[in-house]
């Protein structure tokens, strides 16, 4: 395998960035090859240049990113220049590329079947053969009812189904190279595991090589034959998977691995008065008109208890009811039944000024910092706004906001700038500062780090912990990511289909899960620690 000629070989590739960027090159001096049947993982944080490498291989770099040096060879022949028409006969046929967001990469107004057939059509497959081949492929990617999927429109598919359809399209003509750019990032852990399994199987069956781009070392550990680690447009380490994972040479690799392995220290339960108690909470969503009424029972009898200074992680896949429950606690939804008590007071049906006062004490941090902050408002005034609304003097509120900016790791000067001048991680710090400006007793974080790169994730989680020990608030931390849950929580609540299937001390649940679903979740999560067992299986 080591001696076989490379399917793809990249030599000394450099791609320039437009002037005025934070560096001169998007990628510089990239040397990489992918051998037949091999999976090479290209790992790095966002902005490290992974995607530029991927797009250069398939000839889709925009004009603004010119290739200034280097050679790209595919099956021994040099690839055409970027954006050349000659690529039309390579793409889909010899090299395929799949993207992170599968639903978005399908044309919303065309049936999936037609989109698959189009690939066959543009590569010269006879009309009669197309339907059969498309259907076969849908079956091959493990879709339950291929004929129905064939007739479906993209919006009718789940994220996992859509990614299967996209993979079906990518592998329809058995290309030699499949480039997968973060194909599972948008998916639940269980679906992610299925898709990774599917890719592994199809790769073997169809004899394709895979260039897999990800920021997630858990995935890397599970699937990579070789690993290339990218940082700031350069490959800092490239080698066999075991070597890189077990004996990383570059400090950056070591740092990434450490961040991925981190888990929270278990803290003892302090028996004090609970900040939050929820008893037998039910919530049903009703939609539709008079005759087409639909109802979804989103939260079914959830109970929990949270003490000051502690963190409860609520874990579950999307649709498990975690966010709905959070919205009930925030009083953004009215619960059907059950009780929510805050500091012993029943807040389930609070209204008027008392509800307003409550809002100050329970704060919320959302997943997407970009959409939760007004782009036209200076940072300082965004943070100070809450206290001012709750009758704090402006001068005082702004001084405190500046303090909070420093506490959350930004300089006080940043307060004069606008949101677009910050990165996602910085913005999330700002959102946290904004939430803390009101000195809440309870902080609810809904997927607060899911949109962030791993190393940034680690920093933000550290920030949450240090702020919690400084201010003493209780925290409900909602996440689908078990690693995150493990690293931050004192207690854990596992939800499925609106119900709590397991709860308890985090350490206990992770080490000895009782419920089969918790077990399944834990085993599906790609984890460096689980690599050995996966290989053994």
């Amino acid at each position: 395998m080591a001696d076989a000629p490379a399917v793809l070989s990249i030599r000394n590739l450099s791609v320039a960035l437009p002037e005025g960027g934070d560096r001169d090159y998007a990628v510089q001096g990239i040397a990489l090859d992918v051998k037949p049947g091999e999976t090479v993982c290209l790992v790095g944080e966002s902005g490290s240049g992974k995607t530029v490498v991927a797009h250069s291989v398939i000839g889709m770099l925009p004009k603004a990113l010119p290739v200034v040096d280097g050679k790209l060879r595919f099956e021994g022949r040099e690839l055409p220049p970027q954006r050349s028409k000659a690529y039309d006969s390579l793409r889909g046929l010899k090299i395929s590329l799949i993207f992170q967001d599968a639903v978005a990469s399908l044309d919303p107004v065309q049936r999936t079947g037609r989109q698959l057939e189009e690939i066959l059509a543009v590569h010269g497959v006879a009309r009669r053969a197309r339907f059969k081949r498309a259907l076969e492929m849908l079956e091959a990617v493990g879709l339950p009812d291929p004929a129905r999927i064939y007739r479906s429109y993209p919006h009718q598919l789940s994220g996992g189904q859509a990614q299967r359809v996209v993979i079906a399209g990518a592998l329809l003509l058995s290309p030699k190279l499949l480039i997968a750019d973060e194909p599972t990032t948008a998916l639940d852990v269980t679906t992610q595991a299925e898709i990774l399994g599917l890719l592994a199987r199809l790769k073997k069956e169809r004899g394709a090589s895979v260039l897999f781009i990800t920021h997630d070392f858990g995935i890397v550990a599970e699937i990579a034959d070789r690993i290339a680690v990218m940082k700031d447009g350069e490959i800092v380490e490239f080698g066999a998977a075991n070597t890189v994972l077990d004996a990383p040479e570059h400090p950056y690799t070591r740092r990434l691995l450490a961040a991925a392995r981190k888990s929270a220290a278990v803290r003892e339960s302090r028996s004090s008065q609970p900040v939050l108690e929820v008893d037998d909470l039910h919530l049903t969503y009703r939609t539709g008109g008079l005759l087409s009424r639909k109802s979804v029972h989103a939260v079914k009898g959830v109970s929990l208890r949270l003490e000051a200074g502690r963190t409860l992680a609520v874990v579950g896949e999307s649709g498990s009811g975690k966010s709905s429950m959070a919205r009930c606690i925030l009083r953004l939804e009215a619960a059907d039944s059950g009780a929510i008590r805050f500091r012993g007071e029943d807040i389930t049906s609070l209204t008027g000024t008392r509800l307003r006062a409550l809002r100050k004490k329970i704060q919320f941090v959302q997943q997407d910092p970009y959409s939760s902050i007004n782009p036209r408002q200076r940072i300082l005034s965004a943070i100070a706004e809450g206290p001012i609304i709750h009758d704090a003097p402006r001068r005082e509120a702004e001084a405190k906001a500046a303090d909070l900016l420093e506490t959350t790791g930004l300089s006080a000067v940043a307060g004069r700038r606008y949101p677009h001048e910050f990165s996602g991680g910085q913005l999330q710090r700002i959102c946290i500062a904004r939430a803390l400006a009101l000195e809440p007793e309870l902080l609810i974080a809904d997927e607060a780090v899911s949109a962030l790169d791993v190393s940034i994730q680690a920093q933000i989680l550290d920030l949450f912990r240090s702020l919690q020990s400084k201010f003493g608030f209780a925290m409900v931390f909602i996440t689908h990511d078990l690693r995150v849950a493990r690293s931050i929580s004192d207690d854990i609540l596992v939800m499925k289909d609106g119900e709590v299937v397991e709860s308890g001390l985090a350490a206990r649940v992770f080490d000895a899960p009782a419920h089969p679903y918790t077990k399944a979740l834990l085993s599906a999560a790609p984890d460096i620690a689980s690599r050995r067992t996966a290989e053994a299986a």
């Binding site: 889709m60 993207f99 978005a104 990469s105 107004v109 429109y153 087409s292």
Partner: protein, 302 residues
């Protein structure tokens, strides 16, 4: 589905009722209709006789009730001046307004959408800038002013009279359609640009779908969806614009009838025209909703 349609119909009926009620009130409060009808120096008895003939001496609520009752029976009243049914007057004018309006819409579509698409495909080039400058001009140019330029230019430079129905419909239709053309062009451009940059377009490229096919089979159908709404909305602007354009070009359509009927306080005619226009708008909105069902599967399956 039935509930959906019932709700839509109810809303449509409410819209119509509000429209006719507002006209009913406004035309009676913007000066005494009887006084407006009589010459300025007419003695009071003459004005009173007019008021009686028009039923304006009754209390307002009685007039309103009998008007609504008439509507319910499909009686739209008679023009005070000609004694002919308002409906008949309207129907007489309708063909020439339709001729003008459809020609204008056609011009706006046939010129605006290709212009905008061409600009989007050549984004950032001189072509794009020129096309957009033109469409801003077209959109911002008051059609009253443009119409006068056309008609005076035609007469003074070419010795041709562009007014009236004997002449070609083109100059008037161009005047009426100009603003819509501008907004179609700009909207087509932004819609197409948004679609061209959508992830599924990149994905189609990565599957080896050639450029022209991507444009024709993927970009165009997706970009067309929001345009349908715009076309529906612009119909309202066309109707409003036709009032002005018909005035300028001496075009004897519904718009001119409306202006004249308002000026002479021909209440029944004004009320019927407003009702008809409101009906048209409601129908067009309904049509747009239905068209959406056809062209956008995401809405269909809801």
């Amino acid at each position: 589905m039935t509930a959906y349609i019932l709700a839509k119909l109810f809303r449509a009926a409410a819209t119509l009722l509000i429209a006719v009620s507002m006209v009913f009130v406004f035309i009676r409060f913007s000066g005494d209709p009887a006084a407006a009808l009589a010459p300025p120096d007419a003695p009071q008895e003459v004005i009173d006789q007019y008021a009686e003939a028009m039923g304006l001496n009754k209390p307002l609520w009685q007039q309103y009730a009998s008007y609504l009752a008439g509507l319910a029976r499909g009686e739209f009243g008679y023009s005070i001046h000609t004694g002919r049914p308002a409906l008949e007057l309207f129907l007489e004018r309708l063909p020439s307004t339709l001729r003008l309006g459809s020609a204008a819409l056609l011009i706006a579509l046939a010129a605006g959408i290709p212009l905008g698409s061409f600009a989007a495909i050549n984004r950032g080039t001189r072509i794009d800038r020129f096309a957009m400058a033109f469409s801003v001009f077209a959109f911002a140019m008051p059609n009253f002013l443009f119409g006068l330029c056309v008609i005076l230019g035609g007469a003074l430079i070419f010795q041709v009279y562009f007014g009236g129905t004997d002449a070609s419909v083109l100059p008037a239709a161009l005047t009426l359609g100009l603003a819509a053309m501008g907004s179609f062009a700009r909207f087509a451009r932004s819609s197409l640009l948004e679609t061209i940059n959508a992830p599924f377009m990149r994905a189609a490229e990565a599957r080896g779908v050639p450029y022209m096919r991507r444009l024709a089979f993927h970009a165009a159908p997706n970009a067309a969806i929001p345009l349908v709404t715009l076309i529906g909305l612009s119909l309202g602007a066309l109707i409003a614009g036709s009032v002005v354009t018909e005035q300028v070009f001496g075009w004897p359509g519904v718009g001119q009838l409306l202006v004249r009927s308002v000026a002479t306080r021909d209440i029944a005619t004004v009320q019927f025209i407003v009702l008809a226009v409101a009906c048209t708008m409601v129908l067009v909105n309904l049509l747009v909703d239905l068209l959406y069902l056809v062209i956008d599967p995401r809405i269909r399956s809801r």
